[in-house]
């Protein structure tokens, strides 16, 4: 089955329905392994003690907060350029998930920051840019909710998503450009990771588990969205049939 066949929503529904149980199984296994590594294998930090365990939740959530927006940006290109029927479904489904992951990374970050930096919140470059990302997610969700026609809402949100994508490199490099409280990048670097393998491996497994969780939630939200649109079309058809309008409004 080629990827282009998935453009048909019905094929997408059957394919994702078949894929989901496998993903759920893999996700459960990954979380089991990751949590075991986190709590029983990974050593406590010699300075930070057990609070370093927050990292295994905080870092994957922050990665996903950005990956989710990247997926929305790519989906927006799909909406605007190729007019792919599932692209705006994907972008719309990703927005609340991305907002949730951003919120998780902000909350865990401030819980971690209290014992380490002595404060829940500083106006540091990385923290501020992630907060801006959170506000943009909420703004996008609000835009989707206010425009009634899903096709037009998708296009409007796609424009805004692409304009907002400028924020992504700012978040990624904010810790390198501005020398602030948040530590600089230590995993994805040109000269290799700078953290010890005993911490790196649990972190990578947890990141994989979170990514699988995101894929599951995203696919399920997309399925819901496709079904919701079908329901909307049916309701519109029923309504127009009742009042005797010859041409059905919904051309989806």
């Amino acid at each position: 089955m080629a990827i282009i066949d998935l453009a048909n929503p019905t094929r997408f529904l059957t394919f994702s329905g078949r894929l989901l149980p496998w993903l759920v199984g893999a996700c459960v296994v990954a979380f089991a392994v990751g949590l075991y590594l986190t709590f029983f294998v990974a050593p406590d930090d010699y300075q930070q003690g057990a609070t370093i365990k927050i990292m295994y939740l905080h870092v994957p959530a922050a990665w996903l907060a950005m990956m989710c927006y990247s997926i929305m940006a790519v989906s927006s290109l799909g909406t605007l350029i190729w007019k792919h029927p599932l692209a705006d479904v994907s972008a719309k489904a990703a927005a609340p998930i991305g907002a949730a992951f951003t919120l998780i990374s902000l909350i865990t970050g401030s819980l971690w920051g209290k014992p380490m930096w002595g404060t829940y919140w500083v106006w540091d470059a990385r923290l501020t840019s992630v907060l801006v990302l959170f506000i943009m997610y909420l703004g996008l969700i609000a835009l989707w909710r206010t425009i009634e026609d899903p096709i037009r809402a998708g296009k409007a949100a796609a424009v805004l998503t692409l304009v907002g994508a400028i924020n992504l490199p700012i978040i990624k490099f904010s810790v390198d450009w501005w020398n602030t409280l948040h530590q600089p990048a230590s995993v994805i670097r040109l000269d290799g990771p700078t953290i010890h393998a005993s911490i790196l491996w649990p972190l990578l497994v947890m990141a994989g588990a979170f990514t699988l969780l995101f894929l599951i939630l995203h696919l399920m939200a997309m399925r819901n969205e496709v079904l919701r649109r079908r329901l909307r079309t049916l309701q519109l058809q029923a309504a127009s049939a009742r009042v005797g309008v010859a041409t059905p409004q919904a051309a989806e």
């Binding site: 605007l80 501020t128 703004g139 609000a142 835009l143 206010t146 409007a156 424009v159 805004l160």
Partner: protein, 219 residues
């Protein structure tokens, strides 16, 4: 294009109090601040540039929903869409006229208002210069939000929520440049040039994105 500029400028100046209402709002914001933080003149001088910038940002947001809304209501937006001219250019001209009608009065009133905030002459000059360079960026970024919410009946509030995150970099560099002019060790030129760059970038991104949004809102 020249005719469009003149038409937009006239509309911006004449409709409902026009330019003055923005300045009045600006004055109201500045007046409220000493009641909030206390009438300590040293403190006011310290936070003065930031207060002026935030006031200008709020006043800009207030007028933005008029940018495309009125033209859509009376149908002239559809005429502009069908005119065969590049829509990006039309949007840019509209933005410039809108800025000249609402942003420029803010810039001109900024020196007078900064006396209320006990600013030094040097700081007054710096704030006014950064506002002159920075407020076009606010209008151009806001145009994207205005174009996205043009078909909504009560889009003004949503517009502010959408636009504020994107205007944060302009605010950061505007305030840091005007602050740097007063405190000696930090250089003025670096944040100022960043501010210029932001205005130029939004001069490209703003019209292109809003033209795209306007096309989608019409079909």
């Amino acid at each position: 294009m020249g005719a469009l500029f003149v038409r937009e400028l006239r509309l911006a100046l004449r409709v409902g109090g026009g330019a003055l209402i923005g300045v009045l709002f600006f004055l109201a914001v500045i007046t409220v601040i000493p009641f909030g933080v206390g009438p300590d003149l040293n403190l006011l001088a310290l936070i003065g540039p930031a207060v002026l910038w935030i006031g200008a940002l709020l006043a800009t947001l207030l007028g933005l929903d008029r940018l495309f809304q009125a033209d859509r209501d009376d149908g002239s937006l559809d005429l502009m869409l069908m005119a065969g001219r590049p829509l990006e250019l039309l949007v840019l001209v509209k933005c410039l006229a809108h800025w000249a009608g609402t942003g420029l009065p803010l810039v001109l009133s900024a020196p007078v208002l900064s006396i209320f905030l006990n600013l030094e002459p040097l700081a007054i000059g710096a704030v006014t210069l950064t506002l002159l360079v920075g407020t076009p960026a606010l209008t151009l970024i806001g145009a994207v939000g205005a174009a996205l919410t043009v078909s909504l009946r009560r889009g003004g509030l949503l517009l502010a929520v959408l636009v504020v995150p994107f205007s944060i970099p302009v605010l950061i560099f505007g305030v840091s440049a005007s602050g740097a002019a007063v405190t000696e060790p930090t250089p003025f030129m670096t944040p100022f040039l960043f501010l210029c760059a932001l205005t130029l970038i939004s001069g490209v991104v703003g019209p292109v994105a809003s033209a795209m949004a306007l096309r989608f809102s019409s079909d």
